[in-house]
Amino acid sequence: MAEDLVLDTAIRDWVLIPLSVVMVLIGILRYFVSKLMRSSQVPDPKIVKEGQVIVRARNLRAGANFIPPKSFRSRRVYFSNEENGLLFVPKGQAQNAQAQMFSDPNMAMDMMKKNLSMIIPQTLTFAWVNFFFSGFVAAKIPFPLTQRFRSMLQNGIDLSTVDVSYVSSRSWYFLNLFGLRGLFSLILGEENATDDTQRMMQMSGFGFDPTKSLGAEKDGLDIVQHEWALPKFEHRAEAVLKKLIR
């Protein structure tokens, strides 16, 4: 680069560092606000029951090889027979998750609260950055970028000759937005706000449907190839003991 720009140190003191600090503080604030707003709803006993059934079926599947074939078969029938198995859901009874969600206003309210706690701070910060810190070069990215990035990273700067790696404060904001996720997971523990919203988005996409997971668990249980592990354990014990003697 022939022409290195010299940036004012005031930009560092009043734009770069404050922006990062504000982003970190907003992330922490959002974490605690979403923690406060999380209403502890009383879980529906039916849903809890189905969840426990799924856990039990999963345990059976994981430990299938440690019980004799007869025991495994009887347990499998208990879970997945077509008359009164625990995992079997009659066709007509499977209710639509979407309809269920709309019939329960609490659920939609909860989801909206969570989404709002994500969207509002982001919009406000973005507007704040746009309003106060636009129209000048705020940072330099230490790796070269192609011209395509110019319109994205340098809006507010109407100079076509400046190297693309000099970016405006808006790009610094986006870099913070994505890069601080790792830092948040370090300082706030694993269940931080961003993870939560991601999970919520996934859930709102197709809706949590217990009957579907029951069916999936039933299919998984049906295709388990049972092979009793105990007969082989004698060989293994023999090998271990031989190793001990040696």
Binding site: F143, R181, L183
Partner: protein, 120 residues
Amino acid sequence: MAGHSDSNSSEKKSSEAMNDVPTFSAENLQNNMKVIYYSRTFMSIIGGVLAGILGFTGFMGFVLYFLVMAITSIGLIAKAKFSVHAYFDSWNRIILDGFMGGLMSFVLFWTFAYDIVHIF
């Protein structure tokens, strides 16, 4: 590096010879993977600050990132006392997991340190 790992089953060692059922505890496995994720994130932040202070630009910085990740992997393997299969279900876990996740953090702290030290 915060490398607190729970051992699951020590009988795993004989599994190569016996070809028997895999026995591992899912909770401990999950905990180990969490440890990997944390140490990778931490190391990518440290690596980013390091690259910025040293003034690496362009390709060199990414080389440093790969170097740091490789060091992290080696450190994790050493922490697992070189018996990876006693703690994880596959080699990919210790070598590749969380590799791309730390990249954004790395770029952020790289830019931050580089700008503060070298540009202003």
